[in-house]
């Protein structure tokens, strides 16, 4: 099963993502900010990171940028409530591979993951 790291400051959202993903994925970690996300990524090198944007300490776009700079092969999907075009462009620039806007439903999450990490 693909290994997934979840980075989101909202406990509610982490639970929701876990429920959606755990059937077909192995959740190898859940973190609450961008700094922890980078550390956890380097430590465990999961197949996929589900990355929120608005988080305390360090936001998800900066964290994505660092992860992708150190490993261009990393797969990062932004999973955020932000629906601003400029933010989406920033995410592309940082190297994000996909972008899911909250609120989402399971099929759209699975579809986005399938595009990035084909099973």
């Amino acid at each position: 099963m693909p290994e997934v790291l979840i980075a989101d400051d909202s406990e509610f959202m982490r639970n929701l993502l876990r429920e959606i993903l755990e059937e077909d994925h192995q959740i190898i970690g859940e973190v609450e900010n961008g700094v922890e996300a980078v550390e956890a990524y380097k430590d465990k090198e999961p197949d996929l990171v589900m990355m929120d944007i608005v988080m305390p300490i360090r936001d998800g776009i900066e964290a994505t940028d660092e992860i992708k700079s150190s490993n261009p092969e990393a797969n990062v999907i932004m999973c955020t409530s932000v629906g601003q075009e400029e933010k989406m462009k920033e995410a592309v620039k940082a190297g994000a591979d996909g972008y899911i806007t909250k609120p989402f439903q399971k099929p759209s999450v699975m579809e986005a993951i399938e595009d990035v990490v084909p099973s």
Partner: protein
Amino acid sequence: MKVDIQSLGTFNQLAHEGAQQATASMAQMTGIDAAVDVTKITLVDRADVGEELDDGEYVGVQFDFEGELSGRTALVLDRPCSETLTDALLPGDSAANMAQSGVKEIGNIMMSGFIDGWADYLETTIDHSPPTYIEGVGRDVIPASKGEAGADGRTDQLFVFKSQIEYIEESVEFYIYMLPDYDSLTSLMTTHADTESDAIPIDKLEVFNQMTERGTQKAAENVSMMTGIDTEAEVSQISFARIEDVPKQIENSRYVGTVVEFTGIPSGFLLVLFDEMSAKNVAEAMMPVEMDGDDLTDQHTAAIEELGNIMTSGFVDGWANVLRTSVDHTPPRLIHDMGQAILDPLAAQVGRHQEHAFIVDSRMRTDDVEFEAEIHALPNEQELREALDALMIERAEETDADPDEIFQ
């Protein structure tokens, strides 16, 4: 057409003093001690004027005024309040028979006090027609403004001056509405504009209001998606009030919700608030399991925190997309406290640099369960002005961005 902040402030002050004068007249006549709670200028859709009135029965007076400023004005009070007033004015059994003329008399004297201040400030006379007694349920009591709907193709929004007056002892309120003719008011505002530097273009303010309406709809759609509760955007309006009146925009009962600070163009604070019952209902609709008990648990508040986050984005994303900029916000702070105490620190932070503030108010509700949510934004004046300057009216519809177009 532009209006500067200073003249908005002056007009707000005039309306406030007028309402105080009106209240003093009333107190003198009846011996009932009342105080003006809030006065604000609101830019609102014609159809939404008076949305703050509940479904109760209201009575009052209206009359037209003409002169350098022309329009229509109304004094509105709920029926129990009118009975208290007329009883104080004419004690005894005759009160019931005299209710209508009592209201008319009080209304007449109060409203004269309200209009006189304007005439004095403008150094002119403002004539008014004899008062007409009005009654109705909820907002229907408020007379239509004199202007034609949608005349000369502009958006159908009005500036309304609202004062809310409250008794100390009894918890009844009444309202003064002033609906100036649009052209009359805007030309007056232009005449009294002191400087160009802090001027706000009115047409753009109207477009901003429409963007806010769409932002509210988006936020309501997000609520529907997350909860399965079909939620509708109700009202969106921009008001202008003294900083110290900002906290009174909401009730002082307890609310649960989230607050973020947003930075960029515009900047400021954004609140998503639910009354406790709504918070509980909406949180439970998001949860997979049934909850026991009446208390708000940590699970409820975690759900509210995320919902607040998503509603916040739904609301501000439209601004960013129309303005082709990004609006960043802090992670949401969960709050559970008295309504006015929630707004007060935010008003104080904005109030360090300005005496008046614009407040964006939106509301959504549903008939399915007891649920109502309010979104309030408190933008910093400087950045709001920059945002309006940068706003291209032809982009007003471009509130949505599609990630699929950007991620290919």
